[in-house]
Amino acid sequence: MSDLSKIPIHTEKHAPEEARTNPLAGVFDELVRFAQSRSMYMLHYCTGCGAIELPPAMTSRFDMERLGIQPMVTPRQADILLVTGYVSVKTLKRIILTYEQMPSPKYVIGICSCTVNGGMYWQSYATAKKLSEYLPVDLYIAGCMPRPEAVIEGMRALMANIQSGETEPWKDYYQRYDYYLGNQQHLFGDNWQTPTDVIGQAQHYGLAGPETEGEHTRILQQYQQPLVAHKLRLK
């Protein structure tokens, strides 16, 4: 294992995107992608030990605001979900709920090696080993707590990705929802459900692909009738 460069990095390719639903994006796609890349709001949700590296990245020495990145409190306002440190099974439930509450386009960065392959907790019965089984992960920043420079490097890589716009893993969650749901049910049991109606959202925004519905979603439907918003009714 003397030469690290020889180890190939696993990347996955996804289907080309379909028609956009947002007329504004159609008009000046380039500007929109630039804006999305230049203004990323980081969700202020510290899942594990790696989060201690974020404050130095935000404050005066490294100052993420230069890149247009601000910490935001609620998932509704955030774009990036930083999953830092080991992901215990209990925390994974909250991460999935928060991820589904974030408006897309949304990006997940797995900081620390525990999200990559379980890290030093690889033997533990209580931690989820590979984050990308449960959530589409854009980017991993390895290191058992990477230094702020590494975090910012990761952010710049993500900004480049967004700017180029060829990979958009957040669509993968809608298009292959059944696969992700299967893994989640495998871990949390069959009655696992979140209040967000992901399938409804997929159909509403035209992001549903062939693999969105599957046998796992059928299991989900057994336990949960979809939470449809209260309709305004006069009668």
């Binding site: 639903t21 947002n22 504004l24 979140t194 209040p195 109606d197 939470l227």
Partner: protein, 622 residues
């Protein structure tokens, strides 16, 4: 047989017809039809609202040498219009679905309609009073009629209506004393002699008369020292009855004040009367009472947990505005005060009807047991929204115009502390009305309120009509300002030059038409900006951020109890209920005297009176 007689006779006819059909099912339709007819006759009297001379009634008769004259002038026409409007709306609201609900609850809607018709008739009579005697007679009839309306819903209403009638009788007695003094001074009870003789009277006498008459009217109006009965008594009145009472019944007190203080005694005299040891004149004292009447009830309303109580307390608060406006004696201020009577009547009526629509569907008016009804009762929500915008006095609605006038006049008259006091009142109103609409319509919809439906059409239509009136008179206040100008002329106040849009004034006028148009233009542009950028998807109320917690329908996470906790930390200890304490002191004194006099009769030995008599005789002989 002048038009005024026609009006009074139709009112009497409605009363009798309602009484005849009180047991049947269509008593509501009879009452509403009658009230509609009265409104038509009132429209025939419409020239009064535009400066025509007063109309006197044919059936005058004199009793024991005192002539009783009935006449309508612009002021009475204005008040009659609001009374009949409120009466018609409440009676239409009370027919149809609401009456079946009320009958199912074991009470008779027939008597409610009769009480409403009786109230309207007695109020029209009061407005027609041409001299002090007919004023007092009609005043007693009005207070007893509203007593009947309050006591209809047995149970807690009995306690509150008894308290009301004790206050009302005390007020009436102070008026009777004033009547006696006037009779003693002028030898007759008609207005002309009073106005002629008022010049020679001493300052002390004018203050005495103002206080005595004022006390009687203040009880009905709920001005500060006498306001304790109003919130509870109004809250216990059944549905539309409360809407009627809240909208117009307490304004009869204001009619009296305008009649006696402004028309007969004249505000100039009130200004000349200086209170010794202070630099205040009598008018300033009254304005400060009005100012405190604005603040204290509004901040009591803030703490109420029952929607009806909250709105009843606001009734008292807004009364302070009207009094403040009228007492400012400037053209702008008095026009603001008089306009506020109309505006507030519509706001209070629509809010109360909305609250009772919610009670009709959910069975409770307790703000801590409601929530999230917007998706289930949208039209009632629209009515309440228009009502609270009007009540808070925010631009597109009519409440803003009258409050703007009052502020503008306070500002140009140079009364800083009163200006600040009334603004504190407005802010308190905004806070408490938001609590009302938030706890009822916004937030989490409870499980048991899922199947709730919109209120039936017989209740929604009156609300929508009122909401439309509120918006129209807000958009074009000129309509009502014509009537207000006529009232000012009739009462002897300086008349306000006005345009259809509002007040044209070199140093900062108001043109509602342009402002509302700009406002809606702004809304249009932002709506365009909003709907042009991507489609949004409505989500269920459980799909909410709660710090990673999984929300579930059975857990109540709706924030409604102790709504303004921060504010209450600061001003919570200022609520000491000093008026309640004062009232209990008076009550305990009276019961002590009563106890003593009762024992006087039981224990007294026969010998003592004989001894007393002997002493008197000896004293006589010596």
């Amino acid at each position: 047989m002048s038009l005024l007689d026609a009006l009074l006779l139709t009112a009497l006819g409605t009363l009798i017809a309602t009484l005849a059909t009180v047991r049947t099912r269509w008593v509501g339709y009879v009452a509403s039809l009658g009230l509609g007819l009265q409104l038509l006759v009132l429209f025939l009297l419409a020239p009064l609202g535009y400066g025509a001379p007063a109309v006197t009634s044919g059936l005058a008769w004199d009793l024991f040498g005192q002539p009783l004259v009935l006449r309508y002038d612009a002021m009475s026409w204005y008040f009659a219009l609001i009374t009949l409007g409120a009466g018609l709306v409440s009676s239409v609201y009370a027919t149809g679905a609401w009456s079946d609900h009320y009958r199912a609850a074991g009470r008779s809607p027939g008597w409610l309609q009769f009480a409403l018709a009786l109230n309207v008739f007695t109020m029209l009579l009061l407005l027609a009073s041409g001299d002090f005697l007919s004023l007092f007679i009609a005043w007693e009839l009005v207070s007893w009629a509203s007593f009947l309306l309050m006591a209809l819903a047995a149970g807690p209403a009995l306690k509150w209506s008894l308290r009301y009638i004790t206050y009302a009788t005390a007020g009436a007695m102070s008026m009777l004393a004033a009547l006696g003094i006037v009779f003693h001074l002028t030898g007759s009870l008609n207005y002309a002699d009073f106005m002629a003789a008022v010049d020679q009277w001493s300052v002390g006498l004018i203050t005495l008369l103002t206080v005595l008459f004022g006390a009687g009217f203040a009880v009905k109006m709920g001005i500060l020292p006498f306001h304790l009965w109003q919130a509870g008594a109004y809250a216990e009145t059944p549905g539309p009855g409360m809407a009627f009472l809240g909208a117009i019944s307490s304004r009869m007190g204001l009619y009296g004040m305008m009649l006696v203080w402004v028309q007969l005694i004249g505000l100039i005299r009130l200004i000349e009367v200086h209170i010794p040891l202070t630099f205040l004149s009598l008018r300033d004292v009254l304005m400060w009472i009005a100012a405190f009447t604005i603040i204290l009830p509004t901040y009591t309303a803030l703490k109420q947990n029952d929607a009806r109580r909250l709105l009843a307390w606001h009734g008292i608060g807004q009364g302070g505005y009207m009094l403040m406006g009228i007492l400012s004696a400037s053209a702008l201020g008095s026009a603001g005060g008089i306009l506020h009577i109309f505006n507030y009547a519509t706001n209070q009526a629509v809010l109360l009807l909305a609250v009772f629509a919610v009670v009709y569907r959910t069975g409770t008016a307790d703000l801590n047991k409601l929530g999230g009804l917007f998706t289930r009762m949208p039209l009632t929500f629209v009515a309440m929204l228009v009502g609270i915008i009007g009540l808070a006095g925010i631009p597109p609605m009519n409440g803003f115009v009258s409050k703007w006038m009052v502020y503008r006049s306070l500002l140009s008259e140079g009364m800083p502390l009163l200006f600040v006091a009334s603004v504190i009142g407005t802010l308190g109103t905004i806070l408490s009305v938001y609590k009302l609409i938030h706890n009822t319509f916004l937030g989490q919809l409870r499980l048991e309120h899922e199947p709730v439906q919109e209120a039936p059409w017989s209740m929604v239509i009156p609300m929508m009509v009122l909401a439309l009136i509120i918006f129209l008179t807000g958009f074009m206040p000129g309509i009502v300002l014509d009537w207000v100008a006529a009232v000012q002329a009739a009462v002897g106040l300086p008349v306000l030059p006005h345009t259809l849009g509002g007040v044209a004034d070199a140093h900062g006028g108001l043109d509602m038409i342009m402002l509302v148009l700009v406002l809606f233009a702004g809304f249009g542009v932002s709506a365009l900006l909003f709907y042009a950028t991507g489609r949004s998807e409505p989500v269920h109320q459980l799909d909410n951020y709660a710090g990673g917690h999984f929300l579930s329908a059975d857990v109540r996470y709706h924030y409604s109890d102790h709504f303004y906790a921060g504010l209450m930390h600061r001003i919570g200890h200022w609520y000491r209920g000093s008026f309640l304490w004062f009232e209990s002191v008076v009550a305990s004194l009276a019961s002590f005297l009563a106890q003593w006099s009762a024992t006087f009769y039981r224990l007294m030995q026969p010998a003592l009176p004989m001894l007393a008599m002997a002493v008197i005789v000896l004293w006589m002989v010596s």
